[in-house]
Amino acid sequence: MIYDVCVIGGGAAGIASAKNSYEEGLKIRLIERNNELGGILNQCIHSGFGIHHYKEELTGPEYAERIQNELTIDIEVSLNTSVVRLIKDNNLFHLTLSSEQEGIQMIKSRSVIISTGSYERTRSQIYLPGKRLKGIFSAGSAQRYMNQLGYMVGKKVVILGSGDIGLIMARRMTLEGAKVEAVVELMAHSNGLTRNLVSCLEDFDIPLYLSHTISDIYGDKSLKAVEVSKVDEHLRPIEADRFLIECDTLLLSVGLIPEISLLDEIKPKKDTKTRSVIVNQTYQTSIDGLFVCGNSLQIHDLVDFVSKEAEIAGRSARNYVLNKKNNSREEQDVLFDEHLSYVVPQQIDFSILKDDFEVSFRVKEKYEEINVFVYQDDKQIKNKRIKFALPSEMEKITIAKDSLSSKASIKIMVEVIK
């Protein structure tokens, strides 16, 4: 039997894309390595999910439950199952599955949606020096240890990086009786959502050191203290400006990286800026029938936007399967100026352009106010004013299909007002 759509990864993106890829008669399979669907939502027991999508504030597990309930029974869900290999041969994807229940299985599918999420940037990826000691965690690991295994990881805590998981963990550990001594951020601006800065740090009087980093780590077998240094304009520690903080735990909240190692063999075209793949407005990669969405495509701030992106990826996979014939692509790059760090989608395929679509992007620096212009053939087709544009908050701009008068590439330009 040949599946029409196989969705790999059963978190928020996988659930939404599986649901939206379904149509009567199609064989859809959703594959998840854990023993439950929901992915990382299951360990995010704080609230703040669903404000856009459901117009109410849910906890992570509640959001996960809500979206699962919307899955139809016609979708085959495989839990406790890992995809260990993905190749494409003869226009079909071949997936090698591995599970305790069924051992090694090979299945075929007409299309594949990758929704495998992301992994946390590690200590060595930020060249954090010092000894290898017990007591250093990525913020997400600490979150899993506390919220899913039910154990404390430490009592006196320093957090490096002001990403949202770190901020959430600062509050969580404080509420469980730990003392969070400081959050240390290399950049001059926070990397977390403003609402998290307020509700996780300010409300608990936890100091945030901007333009600082951890320059050394002390201890024998276990962490005893960290050395915090101010950094210069090149982000290098200033020797004269440093101090020690005693702690037994260091959480690293220094960013997420899309997890796409399953694509090592298929090798779709990659984007070094997002550290993921290049997609068009349907979230299809350079490989026909291969779609990527959610955090495995770009790192999102809000699960609501993950769901939205995945819905489109799901519908696109369905359209791809129903269309059967491979149309020749008419792809053009989405160009952008130096104010932005990336855009997604990176291309528009004019041959299948049927709907309006959104372009996501992030600014490189913090701006009080910017004007974003979209051009095609030197003609302005859209503009959007954004107040308080922050690198930590993903921005979106909708491009109306009808505003595109040719099949030329579009360019996004930013005018800095303040």
Binding site: R33, I45, N80, S82, V84, S98, S99, E100, Q101, E102, G103, I104, Y119, E120, T122, R123, S124, Q125, Y127, P129, G130, K131, R132, K134, S138, G140, S141, R144, Y145, M146, N147, Q148, L149, G150, Y151, M152, V153, G154, K155, E176, S215, D216, I217, D220, K221, S222, P237, E259, S261
Partner: protein, 479 residues
């Protein structure tokens, strides 16, 4: 009462243990750490050098060349990873080109069988990613790389099969000499009686020596830091790349590992403390700058782990391997720094020869000289995978996504011949957590697997040594 007590489970102690296990007598190996090979053996370049570097006529030269020759056969018999990469010593100046002649002659004098010069074009055709301003190189085809702790573990497992007793968490604190034996005391462990002692205590071998001798060879620890570039870069450099040594030292090398990673390092910095194994911003920057001279495009963005290891330097720059002048049946091995890994199998035989000069060693009957390691599950054939899964379904559960390690492989090591019951020990045995995400996904899963298999609470499972539990206590309120 043991006949011989070996102190230290590094590559040297393990090699001696294996050789000694072929003879009659009760042997015990004690290790201060909670797992084997946690000292110099866990943090070095993993190179089996050809022998172009040590001073002609030194013990280092002799044992390095002999050790190199022994590795191939040993890796086959003991089933540990060995990659014959060959090596290039790369010259960038006329002065360095001249020095290649010195190295060539030294290699020849040391008995290195294969050594030759390569032109610029030949060098770049073999290694196109080297800095193209190079002028030429010295080629050493017999250079190899291994996974040092896997080699040591294989030797130790072989020795255990032949009757060796291994005791972890045994840190020697004092040794009393009796009429015809020694009483060896440990921190928090009962004493052990033994007729002979082989001190392979690595960085701490001088301190063990001081418990027995008046004249002690002092160790001056020297730190070397490294980058580990992910196996994404596999093939970027295929041979061990040495710079031409300078007054400043041997320099930073690029070393392809058997698992596909590229090691870049080490620098060399004298430190005061034997536990000063931290990485430093300065050290890592220095390494980067030195390595980029060898290969300008070296992909440091693929760095997945930095680490530092200490080397047991002594004055005189040769190994010290000798019998005690005043204590019968006592042998000291001090200052076994580079090329200690290469020399280890030869050191094992050398120590046996020393003992044989002093006493009669009776070969053991029915001795086992081989050891087999199960192939990593996901590298096995489809047919074997099926068979293995039918027998042990947990092979089907993938735990470490980056390195493709199954639950059953972790379980096998928790209850293995040398049980691995910490996160770090599991990492050494299976490679789980060694990939690009560094355990971000699987560490907590491994913790649960170890706890369940050893019937312990999650808060009793250590990261590394004793008293390094990852989780400190259960949350008061139910989650």
């Amino acid at each position: 009462m043991y006949d011989y007590l070996i102190i230290g489970s590094g590559i040297v102690g393990s090699a001696i243990a294996r050789e000694l296990s072929f003879f009659e007598g009760a042997i015990c190996l004690v290790e201060k750490s909670s797992d084997i090979t946690n000292g110099q053996t866990i943090a070095n370049s993993g190179i089996i050098h050809s022998g172009h570097d040590p001073k002609v006529g030194s013990l280092k030269a002799r044992l390095c060349v002999k050790g190199n020759e022994l590795y191939e056969d040993l890796a086959l018999k003991l089933d540990f990873p060995l990659l014959t990469t060959g090596a290039l010593v790369v010259a960038f100046t006329n002065e360095e080109m001249n020095y290649l002649n010195v190295l060539y002659k030294r290699a020849k004098d040391n008995g290195v069988k294969e050594v030759g010069f390569l032109t610029k074009e030949e060098t770049l055709s073999l290694e196109p990613n080297l800095n193209e301003t190079l002028l030429g190189s010295l080629s050493l085809p017999s250079t190899k790389t291994t996974v040092p702790w896997e080699a040591a573990r294989a030797m130790l497992e072989n020795a255990i099969t032949n009757g060796l007793t291994l005791k972890l968490n045994h840190e020697v604190t004092r040794i009393n000499k009796r009429l015809d034996h020694y009483e060896v005391y440990f921190k928090n462990q009962p004493p052990i009686l033994t007729k002979g002692i082989i001190n392979a205590g690595g960085l701490y071998s001088d301190e063990v020596m001081a418990m027995l001798e008046d004249d002690v060879i002092k160790i001056y620890p020297r730190r070397g830091e490294y980058y580990t570039l992910s196996h994404e870069v596999k093939g970027f450099i295929n041979k061990v790349i040495y710079p031409v040594p300078s007054k400043l030292g041997k320099g930073v090398l690029i070393t392809p590992q058997p698992d596909g990673h590229l090691l870049v390092g080490p620098n060399a910095e004298d430190v005061l403390n034997k536990e000063d194994n931290q990485t430093t911003i300065k050290g890592l920057n220095d390494i980067k700058n030195q390595a980029m001279r060898l290969s300008t495009e070296l992909p440091f963005k693929e760095n997945i782990k930095n680490f530092a290891g200490l080397r047991a330097k002594i004055k005189g720059d040769d190994f010290y391997i000798n019998r005690s002048t005043k204590n019968k049946h006592v042998y000291h091995l001090v200052g076994i720094d580079s090329p200690g890994l290469t020399a280890a199998p030869a050191i094992g035989k050398y120590v046996i020869d020393l003992i044989k000069e002093d006493y009669v060693l009776q070969p053991k009957q029915n001795v086992v000289k081989t050891r087999k390691r199960a192939l990593p599950f996901f590298l096995d054939s489809e047919e074997n995978k099926q068979k293995r899964w039918q027998k042990e379904p947990s092979y089907g559960e993938l735990v470490c996504r980056c390195e493709k390690i199954s639950k059953q492989e972790i379980l096998n090591e928790v209850t293995g011949l040398i049980p691995a019951t910490s996160i770090k020990a599991i990492k050494k045995r299976t490679r789980a957590t060694a990939g690009v995400c560094q355990g971000g996904y699987c560490e907590s899963r491994i913790l649960e697997i170890i706890a369940a298999a050893t019937n312990k609470d999650l808060s009793e499972i250590n990261y590394y040594e004793e008293d390094t539990p990852i989780l400190i206590e259960e949350l008061k309120v139910e989650k």
